[in-house]
């Protein structure tokens, strides 16, 4: 973890920024709701302000300047509203949400190590305009009296610094400093000047510029210092050891009196730079943000414990078989098992995230959709207090988004049409969640729109009208089938149902069902497991069959040189050969033979696994690749066999067996072996 310092820092930044973005989004939406009903949500305004303020600070720390400048403008706008205890103009919500989107995409780009684009000028302009129109105390900053060649060298952070300094009532001045032989003889150097002027205000930038060299200035170098200060020019000139006319005003604050007055007013209410306010703003819940990979480390450790327990109980059995009294030992092993089970449950709970977090993101999606689609939609979201594993939540979300989009885009009619059909003008989309047993989450997404016209779907598909809703679902999940002729910007062509079905059934091993009444509405029901197991796995061929096995269980993959294999084979047993590996003999078993499948003569590779102190090499036909897989347990006793830990779908809709070669290896080492 030593080298991961900055990466971890970046990851933490992205996580935290995302969290604040979400808060800000939710607050803006609730402000909008309040505004529509004639109220004002000042608390929400401050929350949003704090989030943006934090985002700005974090972004400045990691140096993502485009984010700093967007967040700063948004923050300024919110602050000026808050200071005046004014309502946020409703038309500003769109612009602000646009700003949040712009920030989010840049934060993500930064997190992925991609270049972070500069803010769109339109967005900045829109934010500035809003602030001008409605912010009494943040009039336009006068342009700097600085030649373009220098002005263009000012970074976004420096521009922001100037802006903020001016807003606080400081003046921006320019000091031209020309080093000379005579000055350095007096000890006046750029470094000394820099230090001294800094005491008079905020040093914004020191530009080195070139001059024709002369006897007095052999270096041909001069400096332009940009300073924010409240001190008079003469004091600055003195500090810089220059003539007073070398100090020029670049910009003065808009209207100092007005600013000071509003500042005084605001101080009593809220000041984000006040540490006391920061403390209030900090989340008070006892929440720790943890990266999933760290949790996985814990789980790996737990798995190792479970393996040890297997060995322990086996050892106890062996003792008992020898007639030794093991009652106390068995009791301890029993306790140990219970504790492990509790620990496992506890760790699983840590990985669970509230489904409400997922649902919280829906209003934003619907909001932008109903605008562009001219729909009135009322959302009713009920997470039912359910939780799912983070890995499930991440996969489930796109499916939910698809279904919601479809509902707004295809199902809910326009307000006029709804009135004609005798429905309330505002359509309704309801999302309800509940736990079905302690392993499954049921999510129902219901709309009161036009329902699915089975006949139209069948006509387009060129098939008979399905008799059951399951048949209809299968039909609309068929790739490329859409009941719409025109691709829309929101749902694209087709309904995306194919993707929804793939996520729910293939990726998550759940079930998707449908109930629809033409003209009345549609309900999609998603049944998904609360947890799934995702591992990085090798895929390979053995005995003509494809298998996968977790990367973590494989010590090494080696080329198998048949000619160097040693081995007197014991009669009657399957062929055990030996290979030399780092000076140690390692038994080589053909996986196909172990599984009693036809084993080809020329197996070229071997997977080396270590179980306890034993090392075993399983020879296979060939490697296929490596990929992340979702493991589905094989729980049925009919197919619970040693060495097979589950199944996965590699994308062909057919299960591929997930092998546990470590337990297979240790099984083979036991008396009697696999087929005893």
């Amino acid at each position: 973890m030593v080298e991961g310092g900055f990466q971890e820092f970046v990851a933490a930044y992205v996580l935290e920024a995302e969290e604040h973005l979400e808060t800000a989004t939710n607050q803006l939406l609730s402000i909008e709701t309040a505004l529509r009903s004639g109220g004002a949500n000042l608390k929400g305004l401050r929350e949003a302000f704090r989030s943006l303020h934090t985002i700005k600070g974090l972004s400045a720390m990691v140096g993502v300047e485009p984010v700093v400048s967007i967040a700063h403008r948004m923050e300024t706008l919110l602050r000026s509203c808050d200071r005046r205890s004014a309502k946020l103009p409703i038309e500003s919500i769109d612009v602000l949400l646009g700003g949040l989107r712009a920030i989010r995409s840049r934060v993500r780009a930064f997190g992925e190590g991609k270049p972070v684009p500069l803010p769109e000028p339109e967005l900045l302009r829109a934010l500035d305009e809003l602030d001008d129109e409605h912010g009494a105390d943040s009039a336009e900053i006068p342009p700097l009296e600085l030649e373009p060649a220098l002005a263009s060298k000012l970074g976004a952070l420096e521009v922001e610094q100037l802006r903020a300094g001016l807003a606080e009532g400081q003046r921006a001045v320019r000091v031209d400093f020309n080093p000379s032989v005579e000055k350095s003889a007096r000890g006046v150097t750029i470094n000394q000047v820099r230090e001294r002027v800094q005491q008079l205000g905020e040093l914004v930038k020191v530009f080195p510029t070139s001059k024709p060299p002369s006897g007095e200035q052999p270096g041909g170098l001069a400096f332009v210092i940009v300073l924010l200060t409240r001190a008079p020019d003469a004091a600055v000139a003195e500090a810089a050891s220059v003539e007073p006319d070398s100090v020029q005003l670049l910009a003065s604050p808009p209207s100092r009196e007005a600013l000071l007055a509003s500042k005084q007013r605001a101080l009593g209410e809220f000041d984000a730079n006040n540490p006391a306010n920061e403390e209030i703003a900090a989340p008070q819940r006892g929440v720790v943000r943890v990266e999933v990979s760290r949790l996985d480390e814990t789980v790996d450790g737990l798995s190792a414990l479970i393996v040890t327990r297997f060995r322990l109980s086996r050892a106890v059995r062996a003792l008992r078989d020898k007639g030794i009294d093991t009652r106390e030992l068995e009791e301890i092993v029993g306790d140990n098992g219970r504790q492990l089970r509790n620990l496992r449950a506890a760790i699983l709970r840590v990985r669970m995230v509230p489904v409400s977090e997922l649902l919280d993101r829906i209003p934003l999606i619907v909001r932008s959709l109903k605008r562009s689609m001219n729909r009135l939609v009322e959302l009713d979201l009920d997470s039912g207090g359910t939780e799912v594993d983070k890995a499930v939540a991440e996969r489930l979300f796109p499916a939910v988004v698809h279904l919601i989009r479809n509902a707004v885009d295809h199902a809910i009619e326009t307000p006029d049409e709804r009135v004609r059909r005798g429905k309330p003008q505002e359509g309704s989309i309801r999302v309800e969640c509940s736990n079905r047993s302690n392993r499954w989450l049921e999510m129902r997404i219901t709309d009161d729109g036009r329902g699915i016209d089975a006949e139209a779907v069948a006509r387009r598909g060129g098939v008979p009208v399905p008799a059951t809703s399951a048949g209809l679902l299968a039909l609309i999940c068929r790739s490329g089938l859409s009941t719409r002729d025109v691709a829309t910007t929101t749902s694209g062509r087709g309904m995306g149902m194919e993707i929804v079905e793939r996520i729910v059934t293939q990726q998550l091993g759940g079930e998707l069902s449908l109930s629809t009444e033409f003209g009345k509405g549609t309900t999609f029901t998603l049944l998904v497991p609360l947890t799934i197991t995702v591992v990085d796995a090798f895929s390979f061929i053995s005995g003509g069959q494809r298998f996968v096995t977790p990367v973590a269980t494989i010590d090494e993959i080696v080329e198998l040189d048949r000619s160097t294999l040693q081995g007197p084979t014991l009669s009657g047993k399957s062929a055990v050969k030996l290979m030399a590996r780092r000076g140690r003999p390692v038994p080589v078993l053909s996986l196909a033979e172990v599984f009693r499948m036809p084993a080809p003569e020329n197996e070229a590779k071997a997977l080396i696994v270590r179980s306890g102190d034993e090392i075993v090499a399983f020879s296979i036909d060939r490697m296929l690749g490596q990929q992340e897989i979702v493991v589905r347990p094989l729980n049925d006793s009919l197919v619970k066999v040693p060495g097979v830990s589950g199944a996965t779908d590699l994308g062909d809709g057919k299960p591929t067996l997930v092998l546990d070669l470590i337990s297979l290896g240790s099984r083979l080492g036991e008396r009697g072996g696999l087929h005893a």
Partner: protein, 179 residues
């Protein structure tokens, strides 16, 4: 009280299961063999997202392994928390069986069928053998939802993520409390 039965053909003879235990019929496109399972287990298949074992009924009933044709079907059954597919030659019918047509299983049939047939239904000239699902798929004490088992996935506690990665011997009998 009459009941609906799903009728299917195995080894040329007609068998039936109560429609109440049959979830659906699926075409058969091959199963993934699972090494180390009994020979009557054809393997596992994925049906609407679920991975389920498939029993070759022909093989279970003592015949040859079924040779798949276009007519071959998987009868997907549900019993408690278990879902098991039964591989049959064909299945096209759902019949209503009146109580009056139910017959006791002759002793010789019961003996020969190892208990798989739990009754007969005489439908005119046709004789349907009514199958005991629990005998066919076997009792699975592991899949009884009870917290007694230590095995991941069978205790009602969700599967342990990463367990596979670290090589948890899920199939190791030693995981269960000593019997």
């Amino acid at each position: 009280m009459s009941a609906l039965y799903v009728v299917f053909v195995v080894g040329g003879a007609e068998y039936a299961l109560p429609a109440s235990v049959v979830l659906q019929l699926e075409p058969f496109q091959g199963a993934t063999p699972v090494p180390g399972t009994p020979d009557y287990v054809a393997g596992i298949v994925q049906v609407r997202g679920h991975v389920i074992p498939v029993i070759d009924l022909s093989r279970l009933f003592g015949g040859e392994a079924l040779t798949p044709t276009f007519d071959t079907r998987i009868v997907v059954t549900e019993r408690g928390a278990r879902r098991v597919g039964l591989l049959v030659e064909k299945s096209r019918e759902v019949l209503r069986v009146e109580p009056a047509s139910l017959q006791a299983t002759p002793g010789v049939i019961e003996e020969n069928s190892r208990g798989f047939v739990e009754g007969l239904a005489q439908m005119g000239a046709r004789t349907l053998m009514l199958i005991s699902l629990s005998k066919v798929i076997g009792e699975d004490e592991l899949n009884v939802e009870s917290p007694k088992h230590l095995e991941p996935g069978s205790s009602g506690v969700p599967e342990l993520p990463g367990a596979v990665a670290a090589g948890v011997a899920r199939n190791d009998g030693g995981a269960r409390p000593e019997h």
